[in-house]
């Protein structure tokens, strides 16, 4: 297979609804996830999307779910297999075995997991996907974004400061004991009991705000790029959800992309749609092999009793 080399997928993602990607809670108020940056000789906290969340939502989750459906794995995965596919798995055994063969097999069968890496029970396998953080497009981040975007130029005029993109929300969770039909529904209703009504609030990044983020794929083949693009398409097709509170209409991102490095070693430009089709064909052709690999890599644990 011809190697493509390194490929970078740039994203410009616009918030289609409030983004509530949180870092913690203060009282009953959620605080936006922020990162410290240096701006005009000061350290300031600017909202950002974590690389962890972006990696999971854009690539791992949709990509793994596609494999589950394509390989007819619903209801058939062990917890270790599901963890490997959906969360990257974890080391639970000491490394005393030689895994070279099983890793080599995975590299051949699954471009998605070649990209993502993950952990077998006794060995971590590195991936080739590196995800940036989601940088809010604002004055404070302008220099960094320009450096990452290279030949895509930012407007000459200054951008709005980050604070302009931050707003607040407040919701109320009701108390079933205070419903008008409570007495006819609940057996042990106690009218003297304090109300469980919960008011919760938090910060949000406003609809229309934009983020820059990217994926760098190091030394990858066309199939891995196809796997990444396929997952991105699935993520976008499902509203590009990021952060919490998607259940109440938050966290929708609409992304546009541009790609650096779709030229192979022979100077031929690859078509992105073609790469996706090739990946899908590969998955279809290798689905039995992938199921067999999962069984081999995560065999049922034998009881010692």
């Amino acid at each position: 297979m011809k190697q493509i080399g390194t490929c970078k997928i740039h994203f410009l993602s616009e918030a289609m609804s409030p983004i509530t990607h949180m870092m913690g809670v203060s009282g009953n108020e959620s605080i936006l996830n922020r990162g410290k940056i240096i701006y005009k000789n000061n350290v300031v906290d600017i909202p950002m999307l974590s690389g962890n969340a972006l990696r999971h939502k854009i690539i791992r989750d949709p990509g793994a779910m596609y494999l589950v459906d394509c390989c007819d794995l619903r209801g058939k995965l062990s917890i270790d297999q599901a963890n490997y596919m959906f969360t990257g798995g974890s080391l639970t055994e000491s490394s005393t075995t030689n895994n070279i063969k099983i890793i080599a097999e995975l590299q051949q069968i699954s471009p998605l997991f070649r990209l993502l890496g993950g952990s077998l029970r006794n060995q971590v396998i590195g991936g080739s996907l590196f995800v940036s953080r989601g940088l809010l497009i604002c004055e404070e981040n302008a220099k960094t974004i320009q450096a990452l975007c290279k030949n895509y130029q930012l407007p000459k005029n200054p951008l709005l400061p980050a604070q302009h993109f931050i707003s607040k929300f407040q919701y109320t969770r009701g108390d079933a004991g205070r419903m008008k039909d409570a007495a006819s529904i609940i057996t042990d209703i106690d009218s003297k009991e304090k109300s469980n009504l919960m008011i919760y609030s938090g910060e949000t990044i406003i609809q229309g705000a934009m983020f820059y983020h990217d994926l760098t794929l190091y030394n990858v083949s066309p199939l891995e790029i196809g796997a990444a693009l396929h997952s991105i398409n699935l993520w976008q097709h499902n509203d590009g959800i990021i952060g919490s509170s998607a259940r109440i209409g938050h966290g929708k991102l609409k992304s546009s992309i541009w790609i650096d490095g779709l030229v192979d070693w022979f100077g031929d430009e690859k078509d992105s749609a073609e790469l996706v089709v090739d990946y899908i064909k590969h998955v279809q052709a290798k689905k039995d092999n992938f199921v067999d690999w999962l069984q081999k890599a995560f065999p049922e644990k034998k009881s010692l009793l």
């Binding site: 740039h10 410009l12 616009e14 497009i137 604002c138 004055e139 975007c149 030949n151 895509y152 130029q153 930012l154 407007p155 005029n157 200054p158 951008l159 709005l160 400061p161 604070q163 302009h164 229309g208 705000a209 934009m210 693009l229 991105i232 398409n233 976008q236 992304s255 546009s256 992309i257 541009w258 790609i259 992105s272």
Partner: protein, 142 residues
């Protein structure tokens, strides 16, 4: 999946270019002073229907709700704020300081007015402290 050209990228980002940068430092200072000045006028027009002890609470609540409801229109913000404290239309019309304030802001640029509303929304608690200070000086309370 939409592929983005460099030109389209720049066009999209034009939506988040800061217009207020055209305002000078002096203008930004003037905006903050105008916000404080406006809030300091409200006690004079506060309705007698309300308990005077709730003066600044009600003015604060009026500012917050009016900002949300005014849709970026400066005059509507002022009108809503006056409604919230049930300002008497007669007294409002005769209030010279309010008239001066309105004639001061009427010719200001859109950027100035946008910043005026933004600063009030973002810093209303601090603005109320300064406004109360001015009001106390006016009525001779130490």
């Amino acid at each position: 999946m939409e592929m983005l050209s460099a030109e389209e990228f720049r066009k999209r980002l034009a939506d988040v270019v800061d217009q207020s940068k055209t305002l000078s430092e002096e203008e930004n200072k003037e905006i903050k002073e105008a916000a404080i000045n406006f809030c300091s006028l409200l006690p004079e027009l506060f309705s007698d229907d309300f308990d005077r002890k709730t003066l600044w609470t009600r003015i604060g609540n009026g500012i917050i709700s009016s900002i949300k409801k005014c849709g970026g229109d400066c005059e509507e913000f002022i009108n809503l704020s006056l409604e919230f404290i049930k300002a008497d239309p007669g007294k409002t019309a005769e209030n010279n300081k309010l008239e001066l304030f309105l004639s001061f802001i009427i010719d200001k640029s859109i950027e100035w007015k946008v910043e005026f509303l933004r600063i009030i929304e973002k810093k209303y608690n601090v603005i109320l402290v300064y406004a109360r200070q001015i009001w106390r000086q006016k009525v001779g309370i130490k």
